[in-house]
C-alpha cells in the first residue's frame, strides 16, 4: 500500500520486459519422447487419407501445379500445400514446433534440408521409412544425406553441388585451360591480370553464415582433409585440413580473394561476377541462367563456362546441398504420405520439376537425359561435382556444429587466429559436440 505508485511503475517496466520472456516460454513444451514416438507408430504404413505437404515458400510457383496433378489422380487422398517462411531457420523452427506439439500443425510430408536429417531423425521428428524402399536409381550422395545410422529417414528430392564459374573469354585470350588446382588458378589469374589489371581473381561465399560452412568445408575437403572420419570422430586439425585453410588465408592476404568477399553471400558474389569483377566464382547452379541473361543485368552473358571446383592437388570436393522429403512421425496417413513422396520423386516427375524450377534432380539417369542437358548445359559438370561431393557433418546438434565451424573459419580468414590454432580450437569444440 505504502508504495502503490512505485508498484505501478514497476509493473510497467515488468510489462515492457515481458515480451522477451514470452519468446522463451513459447518453447516450453519440452519432453517429447523421441525414442518411444518413433517406435510406437511403425505399424501404420497402410493408412491412407488426406495429408499436408510442408515446405518453404515456393518461389517457382510450380509446387501447387504438381500437387493438383496428384489430387486429380487421388480424389480420396488429397494433398494440401503448406508454405512456410522462405527463411531456412524459420522453416526448421516450424517443423520442430509441430513435432514437439505431437503433430498439432498436422504436418505430414516435410521438405527437409540435407543438414537437418540427423537432428530430425535423432529426435524422432521423422519416421524411419520402410526398409523395403529401393533407392538404387538415386544419386549415392543424395541417398546418404537422407540416411542416419544406416536407416533411411527421407527420400532424396533435389540435390545441389558447387560449380566453378570461369570467364572463358579471358582464359581463351590468355591461351589458358580451366584450372583444376588452386595453384593453377592463381597462375591463370596472374596472366589474366596482365591485360585486365583491375579484375579480382576468385570469389565465393565467406560471410559468416551457412554458406561459409559450405565454402570452408570445400577448402578442407579439397585439400584431402575431412571434418569427421568414418567413425564420426572430428579430424579437423590434421595437416591436410590445415593446409586447405592455409591456402584460403593466404589467398585473402595476397588478394587472390578480395577482402570484400568476407561479407559476400550467394547473391553478392553473383553480382560481382556478373559485373565482370571476378575471373573465377564458386557458386551453386542457379547462377548459370541468371548470369546468362541478356537483358543487361549481366555484363558477362555468354562469356563464361562452368567446371568442377579446383582443389589443392587436383579437382576439388564440393559440399552437398539439396532437400529431401521426410514423413512426420505424427502423420496420421503415412500410407498416402509415402505414396506421395515416391510419386513426386519418380523419374518423370523429377524431370518435369527440373525443367520447371531448374533445381538439380536426384535421379541419376536424368543427368544424361538429352532434353535436360540441352536446356541445362551445366548438368554433366554438376553430376561430376555431386558425384565427388561430401556432406556437411551429420550432427544432431548441427546448429552448434555449423556455428563452431563458422567461428573458426571467420577468425582464420580475417586473420584474427592462425589457421592451425583455429583448427585446434575447432577440433576441441567438435569433439564435445558430436560425442
Amino acid at each position: 500500500m505504502a508504495s502503490k505508485n512505485k508498484l505501478a511503475r514497476l509493473t510497467l517496466s515488468v510489462l515492457s520486459a515481458t515480451a522477451i520472456l514470452a519468446t522463451a516460454a513459447c518453447g516450453s513444451s519440452t519432453g517429447t519422447t523421441g525414442a518411444s514416438a518413433s517406435t510406437s507408430t511403425d505399424a501404420s504404413w497402410s493408412k491412407t487419407g488426406p495429408i499436408n505437404y510442408v515446405q518453404g515458400k515456393d518461389t517457382s510457383g510450380n509446387v501447387q501445379k504438381v500437387i493438383d496433378k496428384w489430387n486429380a489422380l487421388h480424389a480420396d487422398q488429397k494433398v494440401t500445400l503448406i508454405e512456410l517462411s522462405d527463411n531456412a531457420d524459420q522453416q526448421r523452427a516450424s517443423m520442430i514446433q509441430n513435432a514437439q506439439a505431437k503433430g498439432a500443425s498436422n504436418f505430414d510430408v516435410l521438405s527437409v534440408d540435407v543438414v537437418w536429417t540427423a537432428e530430425f531423425a535423432a529426435n524422432g521428428y521423422l519416421a524411419q521409412l520402410p526398409t523395403s524402399i529401393d533407392t538404387s536409381g538415386y544419386l549415392k550422395a543424395a541417398v546418404d544425406s537422407a540416411t542416419y545410422f544406416n536407416k533411411l529417414y527421407a527420400y532424396p528430392s533435389t540435390s545441389d553441388g558447387a560449380l566453378l564459374y570461369y570467364r572463358k573469354d579471358l582464359l581463351d585470350a590468355a591461351g589458358l585451360k580451366v584450372p583444376t588446382t588452386w595453384a593453377d588458378m592463381k597462375t591463370a589469374c596472374a596472366k589474366v591480370k596482365t591485360t585486365n589489371p583491375t579484375i579480382d581473381c576468385y570469389g565465393g561465399q565467406f560471410q559468416k553464415y551457412e554458406g561459409l560452412t559450405c565454402n570452408f568445408a570445400e577448402m578442407v575437403n579439397s585439400a584431402g582433409g575431412a571434418f569427421l572420419d568414418d567413425k564420426g570422430a572430428p579430424t579437423v586439425n590434421t595437416d591436410a585440413a590445415v593446409a586447405g585453410v592455409q591456402w584460403a588465408v593466404d589467398a585473402f592476404k595476397d588478394g587472390t580473394i578480395p577482402k570484400a568477399a568476407l561479407t559476400w553471400q550467394e547473391e553478392q558474389s553473383r553480382q560481382a561476377f556478373q559485373d565482370g569483377k571476378l575471373v573465377f566464382l564458386r557458386n551453386w547452379p542457379y547462377v548459370y541462367s541468371l548470369a546468362n541473361k541478356t537483358d543487361g543485368s549481366s555484363k558477362i552473358a555468354g562469356k563464361f563456362q562452368v567446371a568442377p571446383i579446383p582443389g589443392l592437388n587436383g579437382p576439388g570436393v564440393s559440399t552437398l546441398g539439396g532437400h529431401n522429403m521426410g514423413i512426420s512421425t505424427y502423420s496420421q496417413n503415412k500410407g498416402t504420405a509415402l505414396a506421395f513422396i515416391q510419386w513426386w520423386n519418380s523419374a518423370d516427375n523429377q524431370k518435369a520439376n527440373t525443367i520447371a524450377t531448374s533445381n538439380a534432380p536426384t535421379w541419376t539417369a536424368l543427368y544424361t537425359d538429352a532434353d535436360l542437358t540441352s536446356q541445362f548445359q551445366y548438368l554433366p559438370v554438376l553430376k561430376a561435382s555431386i558425384d565427388n561431393a561430401k556432406a556437411r557433418p551429420k550432427a544432431v546438434k548441427y546448429g552448434d556444429v555449423t556455428l563452431a565451424i563458422q567461428d573458426a573459419a571467420y577468425n582464420a580468414l580475417n586473420g584474427t587466429t592462425a589457421p592451425k590454432a583455429a583448427m585446434d580450437d575447432l577440433q576441441t569444440k567438435l569433439t564435445a559436440l558430436v560425442k
Binding site: S13, S16, L21, A122, T263
Partner: protein, 363 residues
Amino acid sequence: MAVTTAEQRTAPKATKRKKNAFSDGQGTLAAMLLAPTLLVMLLVTGVPIVMSITESFFRANGGVDPNTGLVNTGTAFVGLQNFTDIFAHPTLVVGVYGSLDRLINAFINTSLFTVVCVVLETILGVAMALIMARAFRGRGLVRAAILVPWAIPTIVSAVMWKLIFNTDGVANKVLGLSNTPILWLGDNKYSQMAIIIADVWKTAPFIGLLTLAGLQTIPAEVYEAAKVDGANAWQTFVRITLPMVKPALVVAVLFRTLDTLRMFDLPYGMIGPGKYSVETLSVFAYQEMSATRYGTAASYSIVLFLYIVLIAFLFVKLLGADVVGDEELKAVNDQRKRMHALNKKQGKAAAVRSNITSGSAAS
C-alpha cells in the same frame, strides 16, 4: 508505563482520521472494475514469467544413444546451473572485446548499444524537437520528414541499412572508400557502428516527438520574462526549456532505454545471427531457443529481464521518471507525505511530552 499512556493519548486521534484524504470510499468498486484487466495481465504476462522462471531451472537431458543414434529425452532439474555455468563452464567467443563468455559478451554489447544509442538519440531528438517547435514556413513538411524513420518497421530499416552498408553500397561510396571498402556487414567494430547509426536514425524521431509534446506545454510568458531579464539563447535553453521539458524527456529516454536493452531486429536482420560483435542478449536468448535449449534460453531471458527491471527502477528512483502520470495518485502521495511529516512532528511533540510526564512520574 507512562510512555504507553502518553502514546495512547495521541494515537486515537491519528486512527480516527481518514487514512486517505482523497478516497471516496469506492475502493471495492474500483477493484471490481479493474479485475478483468488484471486477470488478462496475469494471464498474458504473469503466467509466462512464472513459466520462464520455472523453465530456467531445467535442462534437456540430450546426449545421443550410441547404438540407435536417438536422442535421450526428458528434462532434468538443474537448479541454478543454467545461470552459474556462465562462470563454471564459460563458452568463450571472440567479439570486439577479446575472448569472453558468450553471455557476458552479449551483456556488454547490450549495455554499449543502450548507452551510446540513447545518448545520441537524446541529443538529436531534442535538437529535432527544437526545430519542429519553431514556427516557420514548411514546418509541416519538416515534421513529416523527421518522423518518417520512426514510421518504418525496424526489420525493414534493417534490410535497408544492410543495402547501404554493403561493401559496394552507398556508405562506402559516400565515404570515398570504394577501393578499400569498410566491411560494415562483417563481424567487427564497424558492424557495431552500423547498428548504432541505424538505431539512432530510426529512433531519434521518437524522442523528438515526445520532447515536442513537452515543449508545447511551456507557456510563452516564461520565455518573454526571460527575454525581459536579458537571458541569452543558451541560458534560456538550460534554465527554462530543459527543466520544463524534463518530465516528458525523462519518460522518452526511459522508454528508449528499455527498448534498446531488448534490441533484436537490427543486429539480427542487418548483420545476422552468430556475429558476436553485435550479439545482444535478446539475440543470444533467441539463438539458444532455436538450438532447442529452452532452459538456458529462459535463464538468459531472465538475466535480461532483471537487468531491465533494475534499469527501470533506477530511472524512476534517480531521475524521478513519472511514467504513470496520475494526478490523483500524485495528490494522494503528496498528502501522505504531508501527513507523515505531521505525524513525525506530533510524535516528537508527544515524545517530549511523555518525557516530561515520565519525568514528573519519577519525581
